[in-house]
Symmetry: C2
């Protein structure tokens, strides 16, 4: 598809439509990159509409004029989904940040796409409610982006991912039509599940403008346990044992030795860990961070106790139980900030592998073998309860995987290993730009053809986030 170059007439149209102050034609460095590797792609124009109707008019115009559109949330994505690789229009939903309704009787909220996850949490907290999806980026990422990537987070092991909380979406289609995808109901067998088709579609099928989300009563209590393991693979195997014992952790996170080391060193230097017993991090190959939550303090302490019993058969160090706020905050800070801190330490390339939980040990083993064979450093951490392991690569030369044949060979091997273990490429980040060349490893040609034919039927002119997911 040949896109049109942006003209002065186009700029004037957009200025008239949404106001000159909401149209940027220069100084948009911050819109040229996101949290993915070290990549930069410049749009031709940045638009910041503040209603669905404005977005509809923008899209109708782009549809007619053949201008590519890249929708963008907070730019916290890790797969390059919000990068305007074809130039054209960068459409930011940042000004659509209204929480439209909190329905405490039905446990539903209606939000605009630009609401920050954290702000939604704060508003819900007033009503003793919460929105379970809690990606690491939750303090800045937007709900629209969370939905577009089907974001997860530590609590997914008990509560599920974003898709489990999306009841209904308002979407601007590539032809500019505004639709609601479903109904504001907990159950729905009425027609095709368009709602779930748009969840995780990474802006390739339309622009999510509003969402009706299911929320939950905030559990009254939680307790966390940090468990040091002498043996890396025992830490992985313990994950399955905990689940098989019928325990229901609200989080079950894994961090291997170097992830902990790099992160705690940084946090210590910045005085974030004062009062924490440093012996916890010595002579251990991995840690599990486990949380239980619920409305009965006794019940969750019981679950924690049973977990400790299950873990007794493994070679573990002293378990740190944390039920006081400060203590919990300290140990969770390590997990929450690991990605950012290891990235600062040169681990710029991040993969988002996911396998059936019991294959976690094999996956970690495979990742290390591959790193040794190819002379790079690797650090693994992630949502072990879901089998979702983030693998960060520190390559002595290359800092990007995108368009880099040497790294692509490595990643191809990595994903082939993932596929062999019954897994897939992305658990919660999406495919976006940087993972798209690996899709044939996990999908048959017939599957990919089907995905593309759906994309083609919804966006025949390929104006919506072009250059993403499929090649």
């Amino acid at each position: 598809m040949e896109y049109k170059f942006l003209t002065d007439t186009d700029i004037q149209f957009f200025r008239n439509l949404i106001g000159t102050e909401n149209v940027l034609i220069s100084d948009f460095e911050i819109y040229a990159s996101d949290a993915t590797e070290k990549l930069e792609f410049f749009p031709d124009i940045v638009l910041k509409p503040h209603t669905s109707e404005e977005i509809s008019e923008i899209v109708k115009y782009c549809h007619k004029e053949l201008l590519p559109i890249t929708p963008r949330g907070a730019g916290t994505g890790l797969a390059g989904g919000a990068l305007p690789v074809k130039g054209g229009v960068l459409l930011s939903v940042e000004r659509m940040h209204k929480i439209l309704d909190i329905d405490t009787k039905n446990f539903q909220v209606t939000v605009e796409a630009g609401v920050i996850n954290f702000n939604l949490q704060q508003a819900l907290f007033q009503h003793n409610l919460f929105f379970p999806p809690d990606p690491s980026s939750w303090q800045s990422s937007l709900i629209g982006g969370n939905i577009a990537t089907n974001a997860g987070g530590p609590k997914a092991v008990k509560y599920g991912v974003t898709s489990n909380y999306v009841l209904n979406l308002e979407v601007v289609l590539p032809n500019g039509e505004i639709i609601w995808t479903g109904a504001n109901t907990l159950k729905n067998s009425t027609g095709l599940n368009l709602t779930q088709l748009f969840v995780g579609s990474e802006g390739t099928l339309g622009i999510i403008t509003k969402a009706v989300l299911k929320v939950m009563p905030q559990p009254k209590f939680d307790v966390s346990m940090l468990v040091p393991f002498r043996n890396l693979y025992e830490a992985c195997d313990a994950v399955s044992e905990i689940m098989y014992a019928g325990l229901n952790p609200a989080a079950l996170e894994f961090m291997e030795k170097n992830a902990i080391q790099i992160t705690t060193e940084y946090l210590e230097q910045n005085s974030f860990l004062e009062g924490l017993n440093k012996d916890l991090f010595e002579n251990n190959e991995a840690h599990l961070l486990i949380m239980f939550d619920g409305n009965s303090f006794e019940s969750i302490m019981n679950e924690a106790q049973k977990t400790a019993e299950v873990l007794g058969k493994f070679d573990i160090g002293e378990i740190l139980f944390a039920d006081a706020e400060l203590e919990k905050e300290r140990i969770w800070k390590i997990r929450r900030r690991v990605a950012e801190i290891v990235k600062m330490n040169g681990y710029t390339i991040e993969e988002d592998t996911v396998v059936p939980r019991a294959n976690l040990a094999k996956l970690v083993e495979g990742m290390h073998k591959l790193a040794n064979e190819n002379d790079y450093k690797v650090v693994c951490y992630g949502h072990a309860g879901d089998g979702n392991l983030h693998v960060r690569i520190n390559h002595p030369i290359h800092k990007n995987s995108y368009n880099n044949p040497e790294i692509q060979i490595i990643l191809k091997k990595l994903f082939e290993e993932v596929k062999k273990l019954g897994g897939t490429i992305s658990g919660e980040h999406g495919i976006g730009l940087i993972q798209k060349s690996y899709l044939p490893i996990v999908f048959s040609q017939a599957n990919l053809d089907l995905q593309k034919s759906i994309k083609q039927s919804i966006d025949p002119k390929n104006i919506m986030n072009p250059g993403k997911v499929w090649i």
Copy 2:
């Protein structure tokens, strides 16, 4: 689309492919109807393949020859989805009843589409696992059909519906290609969510042949409470109060007076309720049937106790607590058999309305008002915790809604009321044949066009379950 008439050559092709004994060309009355109203549509031929490859060959042939295919599970559907309205091929998956794998470490099972829900439950029980979706038809319905309709059941209020348990599907597409839709992982942000597109697609996009399902550890204990209400609308309002108190029932079912009366009368005559105190059913306008489950008996008794406290503000009769097996079986039999028994009593037309839970009282009120105004009898019961209310109609003259202008006028008003309350047409039965004319009440033209364009892109010749969902 003009379909071809079945010829002797076609019959011979199918006989050669799957064996003469698996091809019926007469005596297929049982394949001409399902559990929907009183409808009959005859296919031209019934095929019972027993592998995905056989199905692939059948579909390739039908695709080439332009023969319509209606996929069928156990025929327990309530929307006519399995009725061969265009004649042609009725494809039954009944011979594909193998449980291929029970993975106790990852809580996953792989099954063929023809496995009976009950048989899966029995097999899982040996491993202390269970598959939460439990539609009323669970003793005979097939997993393939459960997936195709996104079936629910009483436990959906705590555990979610079928879609929440489908990780990956093997599907034969309308061109005969066999694909797996996703991966066997708990999280997945890799490409479009084809898995959830096929869940609830009612055989219109392809034939589900295998499924990888998520299962759960079987909770050790459960307790049920039957709560009589003097006031119908208080019973509805109590549902929201229970949820807002942070209680987490595994089932929260509603039955109004006449549902209970008709059902208990029948069950008593057949000696199913011996030993149950009949006073429970006197002078009450509705009942809630509430279940709690978990691994701590103390915890669930605590939840039941708190529920009783919440209910104290309503005008209720004596609560029957049931924790003994026989007692639980007796009170659940009333709920499990209500649909079948009221149907025998002339309530042949069933609707599957769903609204935001807090609007339940208004919905019940609206249904009764409509019945009074239009001189028919109505009985309401259902999954109140999800806002999913089954409305059965006993019309003095008409026993079907299909192609009946008089009933269609009534149902149009009913669904307009549902839409006004924020709800939709079907919570767990699907649209199939009998609900399709009402879709414009809940979907905009742009939404319907989108659904149809997806159908068109996957099945351009419209051979897959034609005449269903869309007109």
